[in-house]
């Protein structure tokens, strides 16, 4: 299993996927943090809660980790490399397990890198505007923990979903449509708190939940259920599929 995990991590590290996803995160953070710190009043910026909201943009890593997980699984079918993978490791459940672990690790790493950049960049901009920096307070740092856990979960969720659909582009489009259209729609019925995106958001917030989110513990539990269900269904789909 350790060998397979090593191989899966090598797969992620030997294409430009991580580089592009990393640049996407950095670009997004630069844009959002610059706009916020540049336009908010000094009084507002000085508030610890405001600074926490500013750096919370780093949670975009959870969405990026979801895409990473989908590419790590469905991408193998898109590029046809799944044959090579299964020739070296014919026990497919092990392959699925290694992919889940590798993408969870990669998701957590992305979240750490994303947070590190957002925190440092925000601190530099705040200092440049002569605002006292509170982003390194315990409360703000708890957000990092939430992001790391959430991104690990979405990385694994992406793998399960990707194995289930086995079409990279379709899986990414369906996932984005669900998050951007599906969940807002089910909010009409008032059950969005139990939807996957909202459950993950509950984990990110790590105790600073708004009224439309579950608490951290409940959110983590619901998110874990989604991950486990997707992982099991994806692994079964992989085990039963013919690789032509």
């Amino acid at each position: 299993m350790t060998r397979l995990l090593h191989a899966e991590l090598l797969k992620l590290a030997t294409t430009r996927l991580l580089l592009w996803l990393g640049l996407l995160i950095v670009g997004f953070e630069v844009l959002v943090i610059s706009l916020q710190v540049g336009h908010d009043s000094l009084e507002s910026l000085a508030q610890p809660s405001s600074q926490r909201d500013t750096v919370s943009i780093a949670a975009v890593s959870a969405l990026v980790a979801l895409i990473l997980g989908i590419v790590a699984s469905a991408g193998e079918f898109t590029h046809g490399t799944i044959s090579h993978t299964l020739l070296v490791a014919p026990v497919r459940m092990r392959v699925a397990g290694a992919k889940l672990a590798a993408s969870a690790l990669a998701g957590a790493s992305l979240a750490l890198a994303s947070a590190a950049f957002a925190w440092v960049f925000a601190a530099l901009l705040l200092k440049a505007r002569s605002v006292p920096v509170h982003v390194f307070s315990g409360e703000a740092l708890r957000l990092v923990l939430g992001m790391v856990v959430a991104s690990a979960l979405t990385g694994a969720l992406g793998v399960g979903f990707g194995l289930l659909l086995r079409r990279q582009t379709a899986a990414i489009v369906v996932a984005l449509l669900w998050l951007l259209v599906g969940e807002p729609l089910i909010a009409i019925a008032g059950v969005q708190r139990y939807a996957p995106g909202h459950a993950i958001a509950s984990v990110v917030e790590a105790g600073h939940q708004g009224p439309d989110l579950l608490g951290f513990g409940k959110g983590l539990l619901v998110a874990l259920v989604y991950v486990v269900v997707a992982a099991v269904l994806g692994a079964i789909a992989l085990r039963q599929s013919d690789v032509a």
Partner: protein, 299 residues
């Protein structure tokens, strides 16, 4: 106790909906030989090979490698090396990194990666992205992957497809060298003249069923079943053969085509005191045999 054949297919059937790709196919291949696996397009060759490699699930029957199902192999890469038809790679990954991933999963060293890259003469392009490789280079990379674990059995699905003459020559030389070192090869191909030059045995399937399996020489000889003889007394020899109950046809002033083994023709000629200038068994080309057996289906 009989030795386990490197590849054994027993009653293999694979259906996709109402389409039967492989139909109760049974054959095995001998160790230390190159066996050609032939059939028209759609005959079920790739399906059979993928079932052998655990990539597709048979509807019925089984396909074993070294006596075990592929999924049961403790060291798959060290047992069998496979080159699949239209092998796919991530275009953004270098050839060396592709092999490093396989090596990592199999617990092999990076040094072994560099060795196989040298074997397939890809060292110079090893760090280039596969998206920029020619078809021939991709095939070599596939072969490198198959050799990583130093297996004694190679399974190759249409490896000559799309290769230029230089690539085909390289592949032929490589397979001969592999077999000369005691390796076993199962190679499917529709490039019949190319296969005829390298295989020792032939397994032919058509519409998912076995049509023939035997040594190449025996197959071509049996299928033609004739002897060509040249003699300055060809007409006298023909009359003697007919008297002996053997069909013989003149095909020139001094040449006969005889429906009997060369030994029998020689005996009749000796008994009549007839001088022979040439006596040879005429074998059909593999392509002729193949077309005959499969009813002229496209190779």
């Amino acid at each position: 106790m009989a030795e386990t054949p490197p590849v054994e297919v027993r009653g293999l059937t694979k259906r996709y909906g109402s389409t039967t790709a492989v139909d109760d196919l049974t054959f095995s291949i001998p160790a230390g030989r190159i066996t050609g696996f032939l059939g028209p397009n759609g005959a079920g060759k790739s399906t059979t090979l993928r079932a052998l490699l655990g990539l597709i699930h048979p509807t019925a029957g089984e396909a074993r490698v070294e006596g075990a199902l592929y999924t049961q192999l403790q060291d798959p890469l060290g047992t069998v090396g496979a080159v699949l038809e239209s092998d796919s790679f991530h275009p953004g990954r270098s050839g060396r990194n592709h092999l490093r991933i396989l090596a990592a999963a199999a617990g092999l060293s990076t040094a072994r990666v560099d060795e196989v890259l040298a074997t397939v003469e890809l060292t110079g392009a090893a760090r280039r992205r596969v998206g920029g490789y020619s078809l021939g280079m991709r095939q070599r990379l596939s072969v490198a992957g198959a050799l990583l674990g130093q297996p004694q059995l190679l399974i190759l699905d249409e490896p000559a497809n799309g290769l230029d003459p230089e690539g085909i020559r390289w592949l032929r030389d490589f397979l001969r060298s592999f077999a000369a070192d005691g390796g076993t090869v199962l190679i499917s191909s529709h490039v019949l003249p190319e296969v005829a030059q390298i295989v020792d045995e032939v397994v032919i399937i058509h519409r998912g069923r076995l049509v023939a399996q035997e040594p190449l020489e025996a197959l071509t000889t049996r299928s033609a079943g004739g002897t060509v003889v040249r003699s300055p007394a060809a007409e006298r020899l023909r009359e003697a053969l007919v008297r002996a109950g053997i069909d013989a046809v003149s095909v020139g002033s001094d040449e006969l085509r005889v429906a009997a083994a060369a030994e029998r023709v020689g005996e009749v000629a000796a008994a009549e005191g007839i001088v022979l200038h040439e006596l040879r068994t005429e074998g059909a080309s593999l392509e002729e045999v193949f077309l005959g057996l499969t009813g002229g289906g496209q190779a």
